[in-house]
């Protein structure tokens, strides 16, 4: 009994010491929509978290809460805010309203919401221009397909995903005017079984190159098992499909996270909106593999062109499915806002956008 009491006292002391020591440290919290082991979206955010720990060491302490349901996330976010976390990243679109509400209640805590559109003095937003990478993999797919039909496993028909599909298709069309695309929606960010089923359905319909906007490697693994091709999503998934992965679009949050943590430490943190692409290093292409030299060369050139700003995947003129021209609100291309709120398919996609 005495031992137990002694142990309890030690624990209490340790907890007290922990909270006292944390006052000098910046505590940084992360809310993930999926499990940290999804090897895709949430995994990649966790890579960013580890980068903060590595870079800033003893000046910070990081925490994450994983698999937080979007409809019931307010408690987890507030749980971080009230346990002394000074900087909190909520890493899915569905966390927007809860993050806004908690940010209102904790004006001294800094919040960062990924892929969101609502900001406040203590709430910044950030996202990656994944569609830039999609254009490159679209071109690769257009070159590599033998059946002339490419496939896409989508999570939810939200603008970010729809813009990705359009960019992928435009890329394919630019090198293969007769290419066709088939799309299957999974209605989940992370559901390996459903993702694999969607991939199988696509392959059964004659698709031979598969792209995905869901978080697990399951679609790519399905392609590998069937001897078809595909692309990694969010992280480099080569180890799951060494023969099938042509390349992967990697979300590299690490530099952004480290920069924001540093800014919070030295007091220069300001709310704002960052939309980083290939040029800023927030989007990175994995090595081009399993393809002929000329395709690889084309991909590298396209990557360079997008980085330098010469090429915009959504350059004008651009036609919707029915052939009607899309109004150009940017300079010779769609404006950022048009891309961020995209809810139409471009001409040539023979499918109906669910809405």
């Amino acid at each position: 009994m005495r031992r137990i009491l002694g142990l309890a006292a030690t624990v209490a002391l340790a907890l007290a010491a922990g909270s006292a020591g944390a006052q000098q440290k910046l505590k940084i919290g992360f809310i993930y929509v999926g499990p940290v082991g999804d090897h895709g979206w949430s995994y990649q955010h966790d890579v960013g978290r580890k980068a903060i720990e590595k870079e800033l060491g003893s000046r910070v302490e990081t925490t994450f809460v994983e698999s937080v349901p979007e409809a019931d996330s307010e408690r987890a976010i507030e749980g971080l805010a009230r346990t002394g976390h000074g900087l909190i990243f909520t890493t899915s679109f569905g966390f927007m309203e809860p993050t806004v509400r908690v940010a209102r209640r904790y004006p001294n805590v800094k919040f960062e919401h990924a892929t969101g559109i609502k900001r406040a003095p203590n709430l910044a937003t950030y996202a990656a221009k994944l569609h830039e990478g999609r254009y490159i993999i679209g071109q690769i797919a257009g070159k590599m397909t033998k059946t002339g039909t490419i496939g896409y496993v989508g999570a939810f028909p939200i603008p970010e995903v729809v813009a990705g599909i359009n960019s992928y298709f435009l890329g394919a069309q630019s090198v293969n005017p007769n290419v066709k695309i088939k799309i299957v929606w999974v209605n989940s960010w992370y559901d390996p079984a459903k993702e694999a089923d969607a991939a199988k359905a696509l392959l059964d319909q004659g698709v031979d190159v598969l792209a995905q906007h869901t978080d697990s490697p399951a679609p790519l693994q399905t392609a590998e098992a069937r001897g078809k091709m595909g692309f990694g999503q969010a992280s480099d998934m080569e180890r799951f499909a060494p023969k099938a992965q042509l390349t992967a679009i990697i979300d590299d949050w690490a530099p952004y996270y480290v920069a924001r943590a540093k800014a919070a430490l030295d007091g220069s943190w300001k709310s704002g909106d960052v939309w980083g692409g290939l040029d800023s290093g927030m989007v990175v292409m994995a090595p081009y593999k399993n393809m002929p030299e000329d395709v690889k060369k084309m991909a590298e050139e396209t990557e360079k062109a997008i980085k330098s700003g010469q090429l915009n995947p959504f350059k004008c003129p651009l036609a919707k499915q029915d052939g009607a021209a899309v109004e150009c609100k940017g300079t010779n291309a769609l404006s950022d806002e048009q891309i961020l709120s995209m809810n139409f398919y471009v001409k040539g996609i023979d499918d109906k956008l669910p809405q």
Binding site: E66, A71, E78
Partner: protein, 440 residues
């Protein structure tokens, strides 16, 4: 060698009351062992999981907020399950309640509508859930369709309807095409109870529902009717209770309460309609209803206990950096311990040799099943099984209900394949018989 469960002659009230406590203790000890093996302090884990949340006003409020929808749904399910009717589709009724109530919130958005909006939303939520719950009831009463399948299938219909509406007609026009509605006006938001914190009026509704159910099930003819219908349908028929009317009534009640839970959650917690408004409350509530032994007070405690595991799990991730998987494993462990404790209270576990079967119909040591209060069973023509005597106690029916569910589903499958009603004997031959094997 095999294991055999024989019913105990007498089950003391004390043993039955202490069973869940013992189950919790065993679950905590096992979980503590795992945490210790992981190289962490089990005491710190217990502090974060249980005593921490229970001594922190904020966490207690959050506990109540989390338990509210689950308690509301589970209390409604108690009506169905007591009458031996299987509403597996509370999740769909929840969504339909949220949908119909949410419609009014969107309809009055931006108008000068006063404080009458949210009360009307609650009524619409109840109506939406009740009407949706009546669909499987009607199909069962009219066409003899298994309510298990229809109620479950209708969940997907409800979810996809909400999905369609939030992506299409009900989408916030200023929301950059993201699939969610506008955020509700203050008039369409359920008032909170305290100046600080998120506890809203929905928790009061849940408490009222629990008290009202305790009264209805324990003190009214309707409550008696449910029990008789569930436990002895033939007796109920002879007693003049209309089984069809009972089915319609319990589905309307449980659907209505699930619908109320839906609109309470949307109006009080989420604040807008979006494609996903529930992390599976309608299914978790089935577990809670059984954990609470279909007893209103038991359901109140069970919903709070389950909510505590969710909140403790988040605290463990934040404060101890323990993985979420441990919480999920602990939830499963807890359920297993509670079920196991209840089985061991009502049944004696013994190891017997394969050659050594007890004589049919006779329990060991002269305890004939029919001679023990509540141990006798009768088999009805339709193959489902029921207690003849009433003294068996909640714990046993608690154990048997999931078994009955499996049995019903198996029987349905058989009927479906054979195309003819099966006979009583053939319905589940491989099922181990906890009654000592045989008919009274």
């Amino acid at each position: 060698m095999r294991l055999e469960l024989t019913p105990r002659a007498e089950v003391s009230r004390a043993a039955r009351a202490l069973a869940p406590v013992a189950a919790f203790l065993v679950a905590f000890l096992l979980a503590g062992l795992v945490i210790w093996l992981m190289g962490r302090s089990p005491i710190a884990a217990f502090q974060v999981y249980v005593s921490g949340p229970l001594s922190d006003p904020w966490a207690i409020q959050e506990l109540v907020v989390k338990a509210t929808p689950m308690a509301l749904i589970a209390i409604g399910l108690a009506y169905c399950f007591r009458a031996n009717l299987w509403n597996i589709g509370a999740e769909g009724q929840y969504v339909m309640g949220a949908l119909l109530g949410g419609w009014l919130a969107l309809r009055t958005h931006g108008s000068e509508a006063g404080a009458w909006v949210w009360p009307l939303m609650m009524l619409l939520g109840i109506a939406g859930g009740a009407l949706y719950g009546l669909v499987p009831a009607l199909l069962r009463v009219r066409f003899g369709v298994s309510e298990i399948l229809t109620s479950l299938m209708l969940v997907y219909v409800a979810q996809l309807t909400l999905d369609y509406l939030t992506r299409g007609p009900w989408r916030d026009p200023k929301g950059m095409n993201f699939p969610q509605s506008v955020t509700f006006d203050p008039a369409a938001t359920l008032p909170t109870l305290l100046a600080e914190g998120r506890v809203h009026l929905g928790s009061v509704f849940a408490l009222i529902a629990i008290l009202a159910t305790a009264f209805v099930l324990g003190r009214t003819l309707f409550g008696y009717r449910l029990r008789v219908t569930g436990e002895a349908p033939r007796a109920a028929r002879f007693g003049g209770f209309d089984a069809n009317r009972t089915a319609m009534a319990v589905f309307a009640i449980s659907g209505g309460l699930a619908g109320l839970a839906g609109i309470v959650e949307v109006s009080g917690q989420i604040g807008q309609l979006q494609p996903s408004i529930s992390p599976g409350y309608g299914f978790t509530a089935i577990t809670i209803a059984f954990l609470g032994r279909l007893n209103p007070l038991g359901i109140l405690f069970a919903s709070l206990a389950v909510a505590l595991t969710f909140i403790g799990g988040e605290s463990a991730q934040i404060l101890l950096k323990l993985p979420l998987d441990l919480t999920t494993a602990f939830q499963g462990l807890l359920l297993l311990c509670v079920l196991g404790a209840d089985a061991l209270v009502s049944y004696r576990l013994r190891v017997v040799g394969t050659h050594h079967r007890p004589p049919g119909g006779e329990g060991r040591l002269g305890r004939s099943p029919s001679g023990v209060g509540g141990a006798g069973i009768e088999r009805k023509v339709d193959g489902s099984q029921t207690r003849a005597a009433a003294g068996g106690g909640a714990a046993r029916s608690f154990l048997r209900l999931p078994l009955r569910l499996i049995r019903r589903a198996a029987a349905f499958g058989r009927e479906f394949h054979a195309g003819t009603p099966h006979r009583a004997r053939g319905c589940a031959p491989s099922r181990p018989s906890p009654q000592g094997g045989g008919e009274p």
